[in-house]
């Protein structure tokens, strides 16, 4: 590795450096290719050992509408979204004015100098960047100019804030998979921009980055890719999907990674199949078919797709077909805000399907957990022969998260109770597909291709007895449905347990799930500073495990924080633990944004002061 040297700005006299503790936001237009440069910055910072997080705020549009990317560096390791931004990079004339307003006093405003606005703010520093000029000088082919223009801000920021050029190079090499030509072109421009900035701009803001070692051993990954990889390690055999934001990148990551990891290196043969279905009705139908045939089957979608899958989920629940459904939630109801994040599908999924149903729901909160639940969901689905939902969200799924590295599955695959020919031979009594032999509500199943003459059965969504024979008998119906409750209760015992964080002396609890963990961790620190000590619990599955009850029991008040309007987790907790309803306080937020610690802090403080 060549060590790259470039100049960086000196700290101005009289300014107190703010190091590794601020946010900067890049305002561009959708479809302008800025995603590459933003990721470069994020990765370079991460490789510098600085805790970092990036949030992409994009419109439901392909090209032309405003989009923002915020990067937060935090020496304290906070990775939640912040409401404030110290630095703004303005490349979009349509939002120039509002972008300028966003900068906190004392902050900095970088802008492309061809965006001519006669507005100034004297409480911040304004840095014009000669984007067109530098691009022209770079010698980039005309077709690529718009695209590489984004490197100018990378370079400018690097020079002005002190981002390591080495690390940027690394990130570039990673991004271009080692292809030298684009690496050189882009890096040349970055360097030129950095030099230009150092030579021509006068640093007045106090924001700097400096190397740390706080990201050692960590990874930077988005939840959808993590889930895809986890599924591959979970032995996924069948994926059917239909494109939808923000879920598409899960199957797409699976498609782009599975060949290398799973194809037979000699023959190229595959032990899985992937189908882009004609819609979500078909996607879930295929996955249910595959699950029934003995494959580890998955589909992924978002709210509108879940709605369309409703009837099939009821069938899978009742015919007891293992299948894994990832719901990467966006803001609903209806088409809603397709590019905004939400935790709003919880009650719907919990009660999904007409008639009495109970769904198993996993709630990952980190990229690492997306990987883990990626494989574990198959074990749970096959063990319990039932659909398993994994509820992620746009923020977790599509943004880059700093996380513990993926861990290799610590348990062998659990294919559940499945009889093959040999098992059938050994049976003492007549096998019945829906017979509760072990008293745990989970029967034994067989799958197609089993050549034992007594192994076949006829699956259906209509009433059936223990031998899968059609039945309209009242008692048969009631017993079977009661067994399904038993099965659910069995599942409860092996659900991923919640994760708690404790503080000595806390009498207040905060309960949450999924992607809001980072904001809550951070908020708890602030609350502590404000004299309010809290313990927190992050629930990771429904049905709730025993720890949830203990948590609710323990505190005088428990704030239930979540990203939806109706406080859906609060609703499910109320239903399950009405005895604690009096001390649960619902704190829902539904603005489509990743949660910020300051909102949590304010919300809790407001309640506490009541």
């Amino acid at each position: 590795m060549t060590i790259v040297k470039t100049k960086t700005q000196k700290t101005p006299v009289g300014v107190k450096r703010v190091v590794n503790d601020f946010s900067f936001t890049i305002a561009t237009m959708n479809g302008s290719g800025s995603q590459t440069s933003n990721l470069l910055l994020l990765r370079a910072l991460f490789k510098m050992g600085i805790p970092v997080s990036g949030k992409n705020l994009f419109p439901s549009n392909i090209q032309g509408l405003p989009t923002w990317y915020t990067i937060r560096v935090s020496k304290d390791g906070y990775i939640a979204r912040r409401d404030e931004t110290e630095i703004v990079v303005a490349l979009n004339k349509d939002t120039f004015v509002e972008d300028l307003e966003k900068v906190v006093p004392g902050g900095a405003f970088y802008y492309a100098d061809h965006l001519k606005f006669n507005i100034q703010r004297d409480d911040i520093t304004m840095y014009p960047m000669p984007v067109l000029k530098l691009v022209k000088e770079s010698g980039a082919p005309t077709a690529l100019r718009d695209y590489v223009a984004n490197m100018v801000y990378v370079g400018s920021l690097a020079g002005m804030m002190g981002i390591d050029m080495d690390k940027i190079k690394l990130a570039l090499e990673f991004h271009f998979g080692g292809r030298q030509k684009p690496i050189d072109l882009n890096f040349g421009l970055i360097q030129a921009a950095a030099e230009w900035a150092v030579d021509n701009l006068e640093k007045q803001d106090p924001f700097y980055v400096e190397p740390m070692d706080a990201t050692d051993g960590l990874i930077l990954a988005d939840g959808n890719t993590s889930a895809a990889l986890g599924s591959i390690y979970g032995g996924v055999q069948f994926l059917s999907w239909y494109p939808i934001t923000p879920a598409s990148s899960l199957p797409e990551a699976l498609i782009h990674n599975i060949s290398d990891l799973r194809d037979d290196p000699e023959t190229g043969e595959k032990n899985y199949a992937i189908i882009q279905a004609e819609d979500e009705l078909a996607a879930i139908g295929m996955a249910v078919g595959a699950g029934w045939s003995g494959l580890r089957a998955i589909t992924s979608t978002s709210g509108p797709g879940i709605s369309l899958m409703t009837e099939f989920i009821g069938l899978a629940y009742f015919a007891e077909v293992p299948v894994v459904i990832w719901d990467v939630i966006r803001v609903g109801p209806s088409t809603g805000l397709p590019t905004r994040t939400s935790q709003g599908d919880l009650t719907m999924v919990n009660f999904l399907g007409h008639g009495d149903t109970q769904q198993i729901i996993l709630l990952p909160g980190t990229a690492n957990e997306c990987f883990e639940f990626g494989w574990r969901a198959f074990d749970i689905a096959e063990r319990h022969q039932t659909p398993v939902f994994v509820l992620s969200d746009l923020d977790l799924g599509m943004n880059q998260w700093m996380s513990e590295p993926f861990e290799y599955p610590d348990e062998p695959m659990d294919r559940g109770k499945i009889h093959w020919e040999g098992d059938m031979e050994k049976l003492q009594e007549k096998w019945g597909r829906y017979k509760d032999v072990d008293g745990d509500g989970i029967p034994y199943r067989t799958v197609i291709g089993n050549r034992h003459a007594a192994s076949s059965w006829f699956a259906r969504g209509t009433g059936h007895d223990e031998f899968a024979v059609y039945s309209e008998d009242s008692q048969v119906w009631e017993e079977n449905m009661a067994r399904l409750i038993r099965k659910y209760e069995t599942a409860r015992k092996s659900m991923p347990e919640p994760i708690s964080e404790n503080m000595r002396g806390a009498v207040i609890g905060i309960l949450a799930f999924g992607s809001t963990a980072a904001a809550i961790d951070e908020a708890r620190d602030y609350l502590k500073e404000a004299g309010i000590k809290t313990n927190s619990m992050r629930v990771r599955a429904i049905p709730f495990t025993a720890e949830v009850k203990q948590f609710l029991k323990k505190y005088d008040v428990v704030y239930v924080v979540e990203l939806n309007r109706d406080g859906q987790m609060h609703q499910l907790l109320t239903l399950e633990y009405p005895e604690f309803a009096g001390k649960m306080v619902s704190l829902p937020k539904h603005d489509g944004m990743p949660l910020s610690a300051s909102w949590v802090k304010e919300a809790v403080m407001a309640e506490e002061q009541k």
Binding site: R43, F46, K47, A171, F174, I219, L220, A221, T225, I232, Y233, G234, G235, Q237, F238, S240, R262, E269, K270, N271, Y272, I275, A277, E278, L281, A282, G285, M286, A287, G289, A290, W292, S293, G294, L295, R296, A297, E311, F312, L315, A319, F406, E407, Y408, P409, P412, M413, W420, T446, V447, I448, G449, A453, S456, W457, F458, A459, R460, T462, Y470
Partner: protein, 348 residues
């Protein structure tokens, strides 16, 4: 000379016909669907198929109930209304060595299921897809389905004002690879077509007019027994010769009046010319002929179109030939531990 026969009690794999039976039917006495079930039993018996090597699928309807009434020893899945194709597609990957028979109704296929029907044809899933076509929703008591002819009058339903959907035309426009029409009242043809379909390496559409004796069997109805009997016109005298047997064409027809087609597995279809020679390879001619027959009020039956060149869905997926996906174990399915470090290193 007649083809080789089994000993009469068992077929060549030693199974008796009753081992191909299913549960007792709960359909109405005389329902066309029952006779189709019987032909499925006969075809599988005569083809010496191991019942465990068949998988059955259906949607919802009287027709879709029928897989419970044949091949008890085969696995089956009675799925959702109109959405059998997707389930069959997913399930087919479990073990691609199996053969699949699907039964659907006209309502199931042409109303709620039209989209899945068309898309499964696009994918050329290896599946015998039987539409038991009676022009009505039997199980919900006789409402018009989309295949009911315009102007059909039913006592409780009044008159049908919409244009019918023709399953065969839909299959032709979707370029399905095996397309046949038959009539439940023509047992022999149904059986021979079924055998041919069962050897086809792709999607085989069998649109079988199957009268609903309870709700749509008045003689003037185009889905009734009477109408079918009077208006059936066979494209050819169709017979299926399994690969084990020698092809012997009996002397009735002069040379040149017989067309033989070899299927993937080496079986042969023998098409004897009736009125004019018909080439099932020509899709455009098929469209013309089918439309003409519709206009003339004829129930044209036989093998309407066949294309053995297109690969089936499973083939496009490059799966191992020697063993089914659903018997693979952790060793094959979970990448080795060492691969994970490399992955983690890439996560930045």
């Amino acid at each position: 000379m007649a083809a080789k026969k089994s000993n009469g009690k068992t077929n060549l794999i030693g199974l008796r016909k009753r081992e191909y039976r299913g549960g007792v039917t709960t359909l109405c006495a005389g329902c066309g669907h029952n006779s189709i079930s019987n032909q499925i039993i006969a075809a599988c018996y005569e083809l010496n198929i191991v019942p465990e090597e068949i998988v059955k699928f259906s949607g919802i309807g009287c027709s879709s109930k029928s897989p419970a009434y044949f091949l008890n020893r085969s696995f089956g899945f009675n799925t959702l209304h109109g959405r059998m194709p997707s389930v069959a597609t997913g399930a087919s990957f479990g073990d691609t060595s199996l053969r699949a028979i699907a039964v659907s109704g006209d309502g199931d296929t042409s109303n709620i299921g039209l989209g899945q029907f068309k898309h499964v044809m696009r994918r050329n899933l290896k599946l015998v897809y039987i539409v038991e076509n009676n022009g009505v929703y039997g199980l919900t008591k006789g409402q018009f389905s989309a295949t009911a002819e315009r102007g059909l009058k039913l006592k409780y339903q009044g008159e049908n004002t919409y244009m019918p959907i023709d399953i065969i035309m839909e299959a032709l426009s979707s370029d399905a690879t095996f397309i046949a029409r038959s009539f439940a009242g023509d047992a022999k043809q149904v059986k021979e077509l079924l055998k041919a379909a069962l050897t086809h390496e792709g999607l085989a559409i069998l649109d079988i007019v199957s009268p609903c004796v309870t709700f749509n069997n008045r003689p003037e109805s185009k889905h009734s027994y009477d109408w079918g009997k009077e208006h059936e016109q066979q494209l050819h005298d169709f017979s299926f010769v399994p690969k084990e047997e020698e092809i012997m064409i009996d002397g009735e027809f002069p040379e040149g009046s017989t067309r033989t087609i070899t299927m993937h597995d080496g079986s042969t279809l023998v098409l004897k010319k009736l009125e004019s020679d018909y080439d099932p390879g020509d899709r455009w001619n098929a469209m013309r002929v089918v439309e003409k027959s519709n206009q003339e009020g004829v129930l044209l039956t036989g093998l309407i179109h066949l294309n053995t060149r297109r690969a089936s869905l499973a083939k496009m997926h490059n799966l191992p030939e020697d063993r089914p996906l659903n018997r693979m174990t952790e060793r094959e399915l979970r990448p080795a531990k060492k691969t994970l470090d490399a992955l983690n290193a890439k996560m930045f």
